[in-house]
């Protein structure tokens, strides 16, 4: 009974927390930990894991409807989701987002249920060099997010990489670009910057539209009434969702990657495998499906090393570790022997929460999609207020609100001049991971990087993947040109 209450409260609470800009999954989990004090371990942990996965989903609803990702993991969804909303297909976008999240979440939960011990061992194969390679692979995505101009996209990406260097050097502890400010020692906080880039800049653009006489994102009349696309179209999304679910789970398992990186990688792979890559960035259901299945699958994956090895791979997992210890559950091998009944009940509860989240999402999609018909004069101030509150609440720090505003202005200027903001965000996230892990790998290679590389097959495989991802388009162009020339001459 307590478990059921935990499940429902966790899922609904998670969706709401996730949907509010600035209120991330880690905050939701941290906020609810004190409430679980009085609950049984099973009920308490089901509630916490339910909050985790549904907050990641909830964040995508607002990302889709008003370009305000509630959590960093939903930023990739904002790109295509919002375009669809503008085209009056917001309800459908939310529907696809829901189904993809649910399937992704269920796949992640199934992996957790059946494959945890072997997958836990697999996660140990990854270390600094592999994290670095994975993040470099992520950086190569920038080109596919560039938008209208490749060079402008690359500029945004490099600006992001540069902004990611602010703060204490992760290896030596020396301050860089902090100008003596203690507030900048941790670097530019990612969540405030993201909210500025996506939400605040969006409100400024909305304000422009209001001046031009447009009063809502879409008219009620021009909205389609479907929650899901017709079966013929939905069928085409199944391979995308399946691929993203599996890849998302694997990325989630790797410590330090997490749902944020997963959504971007899955989005980019979705584009690479798509039959209509040109639609990505202009309102593609496939784009929404790929990032959404990817981020929710990653939450299940992230629980694998936590439960099997007591190794938290992300901020949320670290908070969950505290929650588990508080309830007398010590993660580790014993979770699957002595404490197996408790463990499996919790994992099963997590599985159910993913399904419940999907059902709730589909039930309310029709109503939440109306957010896009709210007059802009009302929606804009609301988003700014919630963003400011959410940003402040993360660390009780006014400086973060100023960061948010500054990035809002920067985002607005970039978007108005045709620079995509997604590469900047990606550069900021990945730059730090690439740099610090490469330098760790250099120390670990004991001065012989070549030999060290050869001893790490996963890194070599990732290196090949990076090369392919960078040079395939060039080669394809070359081959296409050549065959065209041959056709002409024939």
């Amino acid at each position: 009974m307590g478990a059921l209450t935990g499940l429902i409260v966790g899922t609904v609470g998670g969706i709401v927390i996730g949907a509010l800009p600035g209120f991330s999954a880690s905050m939701g989990v941290a906020l609810l930990i004190p409430i679980t004090y009085g609950m049984s371990p099973v009920a308490g942990l089901i509630m916490l894991t339910a909050v985790y996965t549904s907050a990641i989903y909830g964040g995508s609803i607002t990302a889709t409807l008003c370009h305000t990702p509630g959590t960093p993991a939903s930023a990739a969804t904002a790109i295509d989701g919002y375009k669809l909303t503008q085209q009056g297909r917001g309800m459908e976008a939310v529907g696809v987002c829901t189904v993809a999240s649910m399937i992704g979440g269920v796949v992640g939960a199934l992996a957790l249920l059946f494959l945890s011990p072997p997958l836990g061992k697999f996660s140990l194969q990854f270390s600094a060099l592999e994290y670095c390679m994975l993040a470099i692979f992520g950086v190569t995505i920038i080109a596919s997010l560039a938008g209208e101009s490749l060079y402008k996209g690359l500029f945004s990406g490099i600006l992001g990489l540069f902004l990611g260097t602010v703060g204490l050097d992760a290896i030596t502890g020396t301050p860089r670009f902090t100008f003596g400010s203690i507030q900048l020692e941790d670097g530019i906080q990612f969540v405030p910057a993201l909210i500025g880039m996506f939400s605040i800049s969006q409100v400024m653009i909305i304000a422009d539209d209001v001046f031009k006489g447009k009063h809502a994102i879409v008219d009620e009349k021009s909205m389609t009434g479907r929650i899901l696309p017709p079966w013929s179209e939905f069928k085409g999304l199944i391979p995308t969702i399946a691929r993203s679910s599996v890849i998302g789970t694997i990325i989630g398992i790797i410590p330090t990657a997490g749902a944020g990186v997963s959504s971007w990688v899955c989005y980019s792979l979705g584009k690479k495998f798509s039959k209509h890559p040109d639609k990505f960035g202009n309102g593609s259901l496939e784009g929404v499906a790929s990032s959404e299945a990817g981020n929710n699958a990653a939450t299940g994956g992230a629980l694998v090393p936590l439960i099997t090895l007591a190794l938290p791979g992300s901020a949320v997992a670290a908070i969950l570790l505290g929650g588990m210890l508080m309830h007398g559950l010590v993660p580790g091998a014993s979770m699957f022997t002595e404490k197996a009944p408790v463990t499996y009940t919790i994992i099963f509860g997590y599985l159910l929460s993913n399904v419940l989240m999907g059902l709730i999402g589909l039930a309310v999609a029709k109503y939440v999609a109306r957010v896009s018909t709210i007059p802009m004069g009302v929606l804009g101030p609301l988003v700014v207020a919630l963003s400011a509150i959410g940003t402040y609440a993360i660390r009780n720090n006014m400086f973060d609100v100023f960061v948010m505003l500054a990035f809002g202005l920067l985002g607005y200027l970039l978007r108005r001049t045709g620079f995509a903001t997604a590469p900047l965000v990606l550069g900021m996230v990945l730059g730090e991971i690439v740099e610090s892990n490469w330098r760790r790998a250099l120390i670990m290679s004991r001065g012989n990087m070549f030999k060290y590389f050869l001893s790490r097959p996963i890194s070599l495989a990732l290196l090949v993947l990076i090369a392919l991802s960078m040079f395939t388009p060039v080669l394809m162009n070359y081959v296409n040109k050549k065959s065209r020339v041959q056709e002409k001459s024939a």
């Binding site: 941290a30 502890g173 020396t174 301050p175 190794l311 508080m326 091998a333 009780n396 760790r440």
Partner: protein, 320 residues
Amino acid sequence: MKKSSRIAGIVTALTVLFCSAAAAENGWPTKPITLVCGYSAGGSSDLGCRYLAAALEKQLGVPVVVENRPGSGSWVAWNRFLHNTPADGNTFALVNLSAVFGHYDDKTPRKETIDDFELLANQAIDYQVIAIRPDEKRFTDYKSLLEYAKSNELLTAASSTGITSGEASVARMLEKFHGAKVSVVPVGGAGDANTMFISGNIDFLIGNVGDVTLNPENYKVIVLFANERDEQLPDVPTEKELGLGDYVSFSARGYAYMKGVDPEIVAKMTQAVSAAIQDPECLENMRKMGVNVELYSGDAYKKLLNDQLEWRCRIWDVKR
């Protein structure tokens, strides 16, 4: 000059008298007490604060609220606490070794020293240990590890660099006192160091007792850097017992006021915090998290930190 300083002395004495009288009259505490925690909600530092806050409410009879202000390893919180918070006894803060040792850090030296804090009581101490993998063949105990490391460079990890880090200090000590060749991989946190150790990416682990007792099957602990053995690791000898040195190293966290709080309030609060630390429910919750509670209050607390600071300064060749 002499006269004026005497007058100043009298004035100060009177003010102190008057203030303390006022405090006694007003019957501090009358307002809710704020506990500033420079780490994010949900982490182990935060949970420790919350358990203490609950126990302290029983002692003081007013609400005790935990306020999280994470950033720059708690320095955002400490800065504001020391320089922008009234010293009226209604706000106190979580402090750890970074607060008192940060002044001597060579990369990001802080203005503030141990003398800027009015130390109340220490809640938790976690001693440093060295662990090797249970199947390790190259060395089997502390002595053979030191021997091996004299001619072979060994890798370990530390969650931050420099004097404030207990792990990095142990690594430096191994080099300085034992001539061992040790390279430190700086990592984001203790969790990352454990991952690297279990997966075989580093040769040995410098960790805390709390890290290695969570899943003991993964660790063979070979030495403890404390004055006496630990209850949780009864078979692990201290460095002193092994006759190889007498280094003591730990992480610790406790609570402090800023300077300038009425001495009477300080005395009352020290007593209340000490009682809260020993509250049975608070102790039980800390035990569940695997935290070792050792109460030191007032001057004993100051001595504990000063002694450790002396060790660290010696290791890093820093003049106090």
